[in-house]
Structures are given as structure tokens and as C-alpha cells.
């Protein structure tokens, strides 16, 4: 089999779709970690966002109370709100109550995993599909050879995810809010002395992280897969946390990590579909192996936020 059979345009398009939930969730986690909060509960927040977003769309479309676009926007709004609430809860636990972040995150994950499944069983029953975000047909662009297939045939949330990359980078690097986030994560004492409320900033970033995690879940349940099933995310939230480390807490490289991971995953699916004779286990492990190897050889000039996982205690 030739390289042209393996590296098709569809593989790149597939990688872009696969990367979407990771980009949402990892960008959100980047905000939280940049301010010093390690949120290991991302996967639970994604699941809650995925379920509630799906359920809102399901109800609206079933009752035909809303037009399809309106029902989808409602789904996004619900996922954002639920994600924000879970983010607030995480902030309350780790900022106000100063609980150990690694452990409270696992608790939040378990809670989200269990509750999303419970509500699904009670309110929906068996998997049902909704009419999710349709793929957008751009005039002219979609019909372009190769480029059209790779870039101009996705649903709205895919573009939103990628648009958030420069926006996040701008917010973090070039705004006062971004400066406050970095200050709080790097040197909370100094930030505090300068009159920045460490707690308020961390509440804000963790809530943003929760909202984006909720949106990540919704991108699966109402845009890419268009249904919900128990544990729909299958651990993607944990991979998203790993990708934040991969990207050295910078939005562009975090997104690059998500793309690399997703590209290898798309590639291994393609290689199996066209019938390469390699054990499927090795194909499945490829994205994980290559992500580690890539990081080994990458040059790293980043610095971990010094206050990461450390609750802030005002010195007396």
C-alpha cells in the first residue's frame, strides 16, 4: 500500500474532528492551571455537559417547541451552564476549602461519571439520537479539492474550538485578565500584594475551565456523535489534562498536541481500514506512544506555573 492510500485528505479531516473535544477541554484546563488550579475532574465535567446538552436538545426537538438551530443553541447554553456550575463547585472545593486538588478532581470525575449515567438511565433510557449541528457547506470552498474536504466540511463547534485557540492565547498573553491569571499562578503573594484577588481569579479560571469542558462534552453529544451513552467521553478528559502538559500551558502548543494525538489516531484507523497487517493493539497504542516520544524530542522553554496545585495562604 502506498503513502497516497494512507495519507488521504479524509485522514486530516478526521484528525480535526477527533481533536475538537480535546481542544475545548484542554484550553479550559490551560486557564485553570495557569492560575494554579489542577482540575483532574475534566472528564466528569465533560460527561455532565455532554448529557445535559444532549438532553436539552432531545427534549426541545421531541416537543418541537424550538426550531432546530434554536434547540442546538439551547443545548450549548445548557452544557455551558452545567459546566460552569461544576467548575464553580471545583473552585469552591479547591480555592475556598483548599482541598487537595488531585483528589478532589477525582471525586468530581466520579460524581460526573455516575450522575450523567444515572440521569441518562432515568430520563432517557436507551441511546437515542438527536439532529445535531450539521456540517456546514461553504459556497465554493467546500467543493475545493482536498482543501475543501479537510477544512470546509465540519460542524460549527469544530470551528468554534479552533477559533478559541488564538482567542485564548490573546487573552492569556495580552490582556490584563491574562496577566492576572499568570501572576496568580506564578507568584500569588506578589499578585495579592498588588491588589489582585487570588481567589477571584482562580474562581474565574476554574469556571471557564468547567464551561469549556461542558462544551467539549456537548461537541460530542450534539455535534460529532449526536447521542449520549454512559461514559461517552471514554476518558478523553484525562487525555486533555495530559495535553496541557504537552503544550507547556500555552494555547497554541496545547492545540498542536491535540492535533498530533488526533492525527495519529486518525492515521491508525485509516491504516487498519485499508487492511494493513499489524496487530490492532499496536495501532491503538500508537497515539499514546508517539505523544510521549514527540515530547521527548521537543524543545521545552516553558515553566510550570509555580503555584500549581498549591492553595494560596495569605501570610500573616
Amino acid at each position: 500500500m502506498g503513502l497516497d492510500e494512507i495519507l488521504t485528505a479524509s485522514v486530516f479531516a478526521s484528525a480535526i474532528r477527533l481533536a475538537t473535544p480535546y481542544i475545548f477541554a484542554a484550553l479550559g484546563e490551560t486557564f485553570a492551571q495557569r492560575s494554579g488550579v489542577l482540575n483532574l475532574g475534566v472528564d466528569g465535567m465533560m460527561l455532565m455537559g455532554a448529557f445535559t446538552g444532549f438532553y436539552a436538545v432531545h427534549l426541545a426537538q421531541q416537543g418541537e417547541t424550538l426550531s432546530e438551530p434554536a434547540s442546538l443553541l439551547l443545548g450549548v447554553a445548557v452544557a455551558l451552564v452545567v459546566g460552569a456550575l461544576m467548575g464553580l463547585a471545583m473552585a469552591f472545593v479547591s480555592v475556598t476549602l483548599k482541598a487537595k486538588q488531585g483528589i478532589s478532581g477525582i471525586g468530581v470525575y466520579l460524581f460526573g461519571l455516575g450522575l450523567s449515567e444515572l440521569l441518562f438511565q432515568q430520563w432517557v433510557g436507551t441511546p437515542k439520537s438527536v439532529n445535531g449541528f450539521p456540517r456546514i457547506e461553504f459556497p465554493l470552498l467546500t467543493d475545493l479539492p482536498i482543501v475543501g474536504e479537510i477544512f470546509f466540511h465540519h460542524n460549527l463547534l469544530v470551528y468554534v474550538a479552533f477559533a478559541l485557540v488564538p482567542i485564548s492565547a490573546y487573552v492569556l498573553n495580552s490582556t490584563t485578565f491574562g496577566l492576572m491569571i499568570r501572576a496568580v499562578g506564578q507568584n500569588p503573594e506578589a499578585a495579592d500584594a498588588m491588589g489582585v484577588s487570588v481567589a477571584r481569579v482562580r474562581y474565574a479560571t476554574t469556571t471557564i475551565g468547567g464551561m469549556l469542558a461542558g462544551l467539549a462534552g456537548a461537541s460530542l453529544s450534539i455535534a460529532l456523535i449526536n447521542l449520549f451513552q454512559q461514559n461517552l467521553t471514554a476518558g478523553q478528559g484525562f487525555i486533555a489534562v495530559a495535553l496541557v502538559y504537552f503544550g507547556g500551558w500555552r494555547p497554541w502548543t496545547v492545540a498542536a498536541g491535540a492535533m498530533l494525538f488526533s492525527f495519529v489516531n486518525a492515521l491508525q484507523l485509516q491504516i487498519k481500514v485499508i487492511g494493513a497487517d499489524i496487530p490492532s493493539e499496536f495501532a491503538v497504542m500508537a497515539p499514546y506512544v508517539i505523544t510521549i516520544i514527540a515530547l521527548v524530542f521537543a524543545t521545552k522553554r516553558h515553566e510550570q506555573p509555580t503555584a500549581l496545585t498549591k492553595p494560596y495562604e495569605r501570610g500573616e
Binding site: G44, A89, V93, L97, K98, A99, K100, G102, I103, S104, I106, G107, V108, Y109, L110, F111, G112, L113, G114, L115, E117, L118, Q121, Q122, Q230, F238, I239, V241, A242, L243, Y245, F246, P279, E281, F282, V284, M285, Y288, V289, T291, I292, L295, V296, K300, Q304, T309
Partner: protein
């Protein structure tokens, strides 16, 4: 007030204080159960009945208690390892993968050595040889897990690859490796065929970790249960690691690096080596958890394709147990037992009341969040206590409030 009686009063107050320290934890637990009650009521289940079943399922009978301890054993092993890693400033999310790798190595050694024939003239040494097989398997499992954990430490120390990232990735790699090997060279010869189950052959009795019963009562306590020697090994190692961390210079160096890398470096400690070493030990303990599950309980390694199918998520629960245990190996013992009871009891509740398994998962999450959040109240109390105990007047006050 003379000095002696002051001391004894201090000791009494200290003990009282430590008891009261548990109060916030208990209140947090009750609050979590209260929230869970709302969910139970929504599902038309009687919460009191539910918690009664939970308690019965955890400690209501000899067998239930044994199962709680069985469940706690791998959590404790992992928890000890996580404690070392955390003390060394490393966050090890890779317990699942390290358990799997440890189990793979251990079961391979046990299978191969179990098949060995010893010369007839040494037949009376059979018992010693059996112990040797088990010991080799345990050591092999430890080393394999240690190398797998150590790999993450190595990548961190020399290539600046964050250990959270590498251990999350290594978990997935380990499970695929297990699926590959159990469906390949380690496949039970009796399973060769079209719809084989990916699992190894059953270990011969000689290669098994014996079941454990205590010489209390007749029949002996825990006779005819699945409790095995893994528990004793885990508890013994918890003590060993406690001594290691706080009474040896090696342990001191690990903790020094965890406290402050830069200062340790100035003090002449090889920080990179300590990072690798603490991850090596953490992985080793997770590896032991894995091999003990096979040798003591399942007598073979099999996979359903997911990591948790084999590990029971002990690699994650061990993190929680380590932190609940105050990052002290001895504290991890009751913490692991508590989680074992919680998990086993919750399943009983599910069976008896027919409530969905997902509710149990959610409640476990609630308990973790509530209990970990209660710690602040303990810390505040102990801070106040330190300042109070400096003055005799403070002591009186402490007694009154206690």
C-alpha cells in the same frame, strides 16, 4: 501546676484533640450521605435501608469483612507507592498501567516456574521451592512495575516530560500490551480457538499466594473466605516504608526533593536521581498490587479489554487512599480499608435495592469531594492548637472547648 501533671494533661488534651480531629471527616461523610439520600429518595429507595445494606455488605459478616479487606489490599499497595511519589514531589497517575505491567511480569514468572520439575532428591524441599516461586513472582512484579514507573521518572528527570502526561499515556499503552500478550504468547493453551477469551492458564497451587485465616475461633476467622496473604504483605510494607521515609537518609532525600527541589540541589542532593527513585518505588508498589491480585485472588490474568476490568481502578483509588491517609503509609492502611468497605458495601446496596450502579459511582465521588474538603477544618484546628499550647492559659481553654 507542676510539670508532670502538666505533661499528662497535655497528653490527654492531645489525644482528645486527635479524636475531635475526626469530627469534620465524620460530618463530611454524613453530609455526603445526606446528599446521596436525596438521590436515593428520588429513585424510590429508602436511604436508611440502603445504608443498612451498605454497612452489612462492608462489615456485616465474616465474609463481607474479608471482601472489604480483599478490596483494600491493592488499594493499599498502590497507596503506599503514591505516598512515596507525592513525598518526592511526583504525581503518579500511572498506577493502573504499573499494576498491569507488574501483573504481566509476575504471572509470566509464576507460570514458567510453576511448570518446573525439581529433582527427586530435593523433593522434601518442595515447600521451600513453592515459597521461592511466589517470592520470585512478587519481586518480578515489583521490578516490572518499578521500571514502568521509573520510565516516567526518567522522562521527567532527563527530558522534562511531565509525569502526569506520561503516566496517563503509559496506562493506555499498558492495557493494549496486556490485550496483545494475553491474546498471544501468554494465551491459555486450552483457549486456542476461534472465540478465545484473552487470559493466561491458571496458576498451579505452588505458585499461588496462600489464603489467610486467623487462628481465632473454630473454624478459624476468615477461613473459607478469599482473604489472602497479600494483606499482611501490604501492611508490613506500609510499616517498612514509614521507617524508610522518616528514619533513613534515603527517605530523607526523597522528602527533601519533594519539599524544595532547589534547596535540595544546593544541599548536594542529585534531584534527578531522586525523582526517578521515587517513581521507581511508586511503580514497584503498584506492580506489587497487580501481581498480588493474580497470585492471591484470581490465579490467572485475564482482560476484558479495559484497564479497570483487571485493576478494579485500584490505581486511581490508591491515589485517593494515599491522600486520605495524610500521605503517610500508616495512614493509608485505614484509608484503604475504608475505601474497600465503601466499594464492597455499595455493591451490596445495589444488589439488594436494585439501585443503578451509576448511583454508587456518583455517591463515591461525593464522599471523596466532601471528605477531602473537610480537611481544612482539621488544619485550622491544629494550627490553633499549636498557638494555644504555647501558653498554660491556652491549655485550659483547649480543655474547655474540647
Amino acid at each position: 501546676m507542676n510539670k508532670a501533671s502538666g505533661n499528662s494533661q497535655l497528653a490527654l488534651a492531645g489525644r482528645l484533640n486527635r479524636l475531635i480531629d475526626f469530627a469534620p471527616v465524620l460530618i463530611a461523610l454524613l453530609l455526603a450521605l445526606l446528599v446521596a439520600s436525596v438521590l436515593l429518595l428520588a429513585l424510590n429507595a429508602n436511604p436508611l435501608e440502603a445504608y443498612d445494606f451498605m454497612l452489612k455488605g462492608a462489615v456485616g459478616s465474616e465474609n463481607a469483612t474479608a471482601e472489604t479487606l480483599v478490596k483494600a489490599t491493592p488499594i493499599l499497595f498502590v497507596g503506599i507507592g503514591i505516598t512515596i511519589a507525592f513525598r518526592g514531589g511526583m504525581i503518579n497517575i500511572g498506577g493502573e498501567g504499573q499494576m498491569i505491567v507488574g501483573a504481566l511480569a509476575g504471572v509470566t514468572i509464576a507460570l514458567v516456574m510453576g511448570e518446573m520439575r525439581i529433582p527427586p532428591e530435593l523433593a522434601k524441599e518442595r515447600g521451600a521451592f513453592d515459597v521461592f516461586i511466589v517470592a520470585c513472582s512478587l519481586v518480578g512484579g515489583f521490578l516490572a512495575g518499578a521500571l514502568y514507573g521509573g520510565l516516567a521518572g526518567f522522562l521527567k528527570a532527563y527530558f522534562d516530560v511531565n509525569e502526569i502526561l506520561s503516566t496517563i499515556m503509559l496506562n493506555q499503552i499498558a492495557v493494549q500490551m496486556m490485550n496483545f500478550l494475553l491474546n498471544g504468547i501468554l494465551l491459555d493453551p486450552a483457549e486456542a480457538g476461534f472465540n478465545n477469551i484473552p487470559k493466561t492458564a491458571r496458576l498451579v497451587t505452588a505458585a499461588q499466594l496462600p489464603r489467610l485465616s486467623l487462628p481465632i475461633g473454630d473454624p478459624h476467622l476468615f477461613d473459607r473466605t478469599r482473604l489472602h496473604w497479600g494483606l499482611i504483605i501490604a501492611i508490613a510494607l506500609a510499616v517498612v516504608i514509614y521507617i524508610f521515609l522518616w528514619r533513613t537518609s534515603w527517605g530523607y532525600r526523597i522528602r527533601a526533593v519533594g519539599e524544595n527541589q532547589r534547596a535540595s540541589s544546593y544541599a548536594g542532593i542529585n534531584v534527578r536521581r531522586q525523582m526517578m527513585f521515587s517513581m521507581f518505588l511508586a511503580g514497584g508498589f503498584a506492580g506489587l498490587a497487580g501481581v498480588v491480585q493474580v497470585l492471591g485472588l484470581q490465579y490467572r490474568l485475564q482482560t476484558d479489554g479495559s484497564p479497570a476490568g483487571f485493576t478494579g481502578a485500584a490505581g486511581f483509588n490508591g491515589i485517593v487512599a494515599a491522600l486520605f491517609g495524610g500521605l503517610n503509609p500508616l495512614g493509608a492502611i485505614p484509608a484503604a480499608a475504608f475505601f474497600g468497605g465503601l466499594l464492597v458495601g455499595a455493591q451490596k446496596m445495589q444488589r439488594e435495592l436494585g439501585v443503578p450502579a451509576s448511583l454508587i459511582t456518583a455517591v463515591n465521588g461525593l464522599i471523596v469531594v466532601f471528605v477531602v474538603s473537610s480537611e481544612i477544618f482539621i488544619i485550622q484546628r491544629s494550627k490553633r492548637r499549636v498557638s494555644l499550647q504555647e501558653t498554660p492559659e491556652g491549655l485550659d481553654e483547649a480543655e474547655e472547648t474540647g
